[in-house]
Amino acid sequence: MSLKNVFARKKSVFIPYITCGDPSLEKTEELITTIESAGADIIELGVPFSDPIADGPIIQAAYNRALKQEVSLERVIKIVEKQRKKVKIPIILLSYYNPIYKYGIERFVSSAKDIGISAVVIPDLPPEEAREIMVHSEKKDFSIIFFLAPTSTDKRIKFIGSQPAPFIYYVSITGITGVRDSLSSHLKERLQRIKALCKKPVAVGFGISNPSQAEEVAKIADGVIVGSAIVDIIGKNLSNPTKPVFDLVSSIASCVHRVKCSTKVRLK
């Protein structure tokens, strides 16, 4: 299914995140199918990077675990290729820009597209610097997902809303990834502003840590992204993360999915 179609369905979209190679690539293969069976609508796979400036300690630790085993973009692409046939939901990648730049921008877009990756999220690549990757993506009908943040001005909301991507990734807090006790008090207001200025579906990530927070966000956004909370569970169960990840993902999925679309439409 395409990302566009997933967002067109009448329920909120749940996007869990894990880092590839954390705790090992074999476990990642297993976790991908686990996460689909636990009710995810899209899965986001992180490519480890040595200098992740947008990430807090939990995801930094996951990157380090993966880098110790020399997990690279090349190897991530290989395991996704293997898993792609086994899972039906869309797979998106998250990678900092340098591993992609080093791999080769055109080569990356074409490998990713060919193996069935739907899009890539690049935390350190604003649209201003994305011209080269966009040229290749448009040729291949591949998507680059851009971010909006609490600090984005109206002008930037319109600019990013006009980019050819199936959805926008809204960073819910002014800060880095991590588990937070509560949601930003301005979240609803900010999402309303974004909705007033652009028509794209908006998925919210950064700091959403448990099922009840996810449900709250699902009421006001088109999608919910949960990363650090899942990565934290993996970090605490390195020898066998499958069951704890299944439990957490399925409990968040059921909370996100029980939000009726009618409620969402009214809030928009």
Binding site: D51, S72, Y101, K102, Y103, L148, T151, V171
Partner: protein
């Protein structure tokens, strides 16, 4: 003066703003404030006043007669940035940026530091202007630059140890950027070199250009001619860019940037991004960087903490590609020799960073004729390194 960077912060393909969306508005705000301050006569007058009455500018251009005679070639002049308040050129930039932070109404500044000189210079400017200051520093650097840690604390700054990655400058920058992403509303991030996302490479170059402007005036007065060579060490590249940039259009003046060769390029234990690196994106800009085959950033090595960095300012990458400057390396051992030679012949103990520039000059000068002129940027003084050097020399004997 050159017209770059362009309005997007690019130096012909290098530079740019490769940062999380959260910082994009802050970078725009910083650029606007800087450009308006640049035109503001009061701001410029205040900065000029601080540079002269507080930092001690202009710094002397000193004819190193004994070193010149010893080497028996070109005439060697030293631009004495080591005589600046706090002991290095870093204060030129921090006075400018902290003044800018104040103008933007930001009560808190943060900085990253490697050798500790930029941290000390930021703490100094913050103390003098009454701003809250926190400095990120890798634990390996805290170990080898203890004196500077204590200086920062005396100046009222909080030094935050960074345990991640290689626990050096690169990781301190990561942590400073994470802090800035989180506290961008009330915080200005004082980047200490010509690195980072636009507008930093431009701002730091402009604030450091006072070095080259003074040098040009001084050498014309002393020699009635421009120098043939400008030599400076390059980690991130701020002291080199500050010296080079005002001479950009003087095509007969050759620029030589000296990178940290560590234990030798072939050992892989070095920090020579321009000489041995490839294009890549680190800390917000596209430049030459040291990375592995998968695009992971390499762990670097240099005896000098201030050069121990896997990236370099994008304008240096631009200079390299257009062949405006030549970049060379000096090993740890050669740098130590340069350190000792300057102490013995001229009674000046240089910073280990600047000792790289001295060591290259020791190689270059004898090959040149006596009517040629070399200006070496003596970017900092070596008090901070005396303990490290003593330890190495003791081990060596």
């Amino acid at each position: 003066m050159q017209k770059l960077p362009d309005k997007n912060g690019h130096f012909d393909g290098f530079g740019g703003k490769f940062v999380p969306e959260t910082l994009m508005s802050a970078l725009t705000e910083l650029e606007k404030s800087y450009l308006s301050a640049k035109k503001d006569k009061d701001f410029q007058a205040k900065l000029k006043e601080l540079l002269s009455s507080y930092a001690g500018r202009p710094t002397p251009l000193y004819y190193a007669e004994r070193l010149t005679k010893k080497l028996g070639g070109a005439k060697i002049y030293l631009k004495r940035e080591d005589l600046c308040h706090t002991g290095a050129h870093k204060i030129n930039n921090t006075l400018g940026q902290v003044l800018l932070a104040k103008r933007m109404g930001k009560p808190r500044v943060i900085a990253e530091t490697g050798a500790g000189q930029h941290g000390v210079a930021t703490a100094t400017a913050s103390a003098m202007m009454g701003l809250k200051c926190e400095v990120y520093m890798g634990t390996e650097d805290i170990e080898r630059q203890r004196l500077n840690v204590f200086r920062m604390e005396l100046l009222g700054a909080k030094v935050i140890p960074v345990e991640s990655g290689s626990r050096t400058l690169k990781d301190a920058i990561n942590e400073a950027l994470r802090d800035w992403v989180t506290n961008v509303a009330n915080t200005h991030c004082v980047i200490g070199s010509v690195v980072g996302p636009h507008p930093y490479p431009m701002i730091v170059r402009d604030f450091q250009s006072v070095i080259g402007k003074e040098t040009m005036r001084q050498i014309l007065k002393m020699e009635g001619d421009l120098p043939d060579y400008l030599v400076a060490c390059v980690g991130g590249g701020s002291n080199a860019m500050g010296l080079f940039a005002p001479f950009y259009n003087e095509k007969l003046v050759r620029f030589i940037g000296v990178e940290a060769g560590g234990e030798g390029i072939s050992t892989g234990k070095h920090a020579a991004s321009l000489v041995a690196g490839e294009k890549g994106v680190l800390h917000g800009s596209l430049s030459y960087i040291l990375q592995d085959k998968n695009g992971q950033i390499s762990v670097t090595h240099s005896v000098s903490a201030g050069l121990d960095y896997p990236g370099v300012g994008p304008e240096h990458s631009f200079y390299k590609d257009m062949k405006r400057a030549e970049y060379v390396t000096i090993t740890d051992k050669e740098a130590l020799k340069g350190f000792c030679v300057l102490a013995e012949t001229e009674g000046i103990i240089p910073a280990l960073e600047s000792a790289h520039a001295i060591a290259y000059t020791v190689k270059l000068a004898p090959k040149l004729s006596q009517d040629e002129i070399i200006v070496v940027n003596l970017s900092g003084r070596g008090d901070k390194d005396v303990e490290t050097v003593a330890k190495i020399l003791k081990e060596g004997t």
